[in-house]
């Protein structure tokens, strides 16, 4: 029998709903299988754990080829908000929670959440800017230390 995955460390580096959700679903799914999971938020991915921003994450309708929407149409005011609200409704039916609830859920499931020090310094953020589920602000070296013996997934 092949060796089981027992530990994953997932990097969430992109902002926007499509940037944040895949990593959250993978981390939560790992915990559901009894796999140890760490989440490392960096660059715009950090929005998902910033208190003031986590509830306002949208899907980009401009510059997002996955949306199959002409640029000018996507640029109409309110278009991104509308696409976001439609997507959220669909996700809610599938029991995929909004970002703040998802962060709470994955944390309650036992995943550990970390913020990237380089980004925190760059954006001049403080520990208080983050939601309480964040364990610590750590540098890359510490991330590798924490990830030892598991798989690293970059999203």
């Amino acid at each position: 029998m092949e060796e089981r995955v027992t530990k994953v460390s997932i990097v969430i580096s992109k902002g926007g709903l499509d940037g944040v959700y895949p990593g959250l679903i993978m981390a939560n799914g790992a915990r559901m299988e009894g796999i140890e999971a760490n989440l490392f938020f960096t660059f715009f991915g950090l929005d998902a754990i910033i208190r003031k921003r986590m509830g306002k994450i949208k899907i980009a309708t401009v510059g997002n080829p996955g949306m199959h929407m002409p640029t000018l149409l996507g640029a109409i005011p309110g278009m991104s908000a509308m696409a976001t609200s439609m997507m959220k409704k669909t996700m809610d039916k599938l029991d995929i929670p909004p970002v703040p609830e998802f962060i709470e859920m994955v944390h309650d499931a036992g995943a550990k959440l970390y913020a990237c020090k380089a980004t925190v310094d760059m954006f001049k953020l403080k520990k208080e800017d983050f939601c309480p589920q964040v364990e610590a602000v750590i540098n890359v070296g510490k991330f590798y230390e924490i990830s030892a013996g598991g798989h690293i997934i970059f999203t």
């Binding site: 559901m32 995929i96 309650d108």
Partner: protein, 105 residues
């Protein structure tokens, strides 16, 4: 389909040990599966989850998600992970005699 013996009961299971016929489920079978899954005793909180899952399954044809179990106030997510360590949705479904959950969350 393979048969599995739990005490005096012989039940039909799939390749991963999930019951294929919910009618063959009994509380004794549940306790025996739980033991196999590393849960020595099923406490009242376990039964609360198991009974809720069976009720939901009867109504919707699917085992409820962890989020739903939390939101409906059965037990919190944290508690659920403590009750069924190492894979709560899957383990609880197995003990409840339901098929393996198919969703991603």
């Amino acid at each position: 389909m393979p048969q599995k013996q739990y005490g005096n009961a012989s039940v039909e299971v799939d390749a991963e040990g999930f019951l294929t016929n919910p009618a063959e489920w009994t509380r004794e079978v549940a306790a025996a599966i739980a033991k196999e899954e590393g849960i020595a005793d099923l406490l009242p909180a376990h039964w609360k989850v198991i009974e809720y899952m069976q009720k939901e399954f009867k109504e919707t044809g699917q085992a409820p998600t962890i989020r739903r179990i939390n939101k409906t106030g059965v037990v919190s997510t944290k508690e659920l992970y403590e009750l069924f360590p190492g894979g709560p949705a899957k383990k609880a479904a197995k003990i409840a005699g339901l098929k393996k959950p198919e969703g991603c969350v």
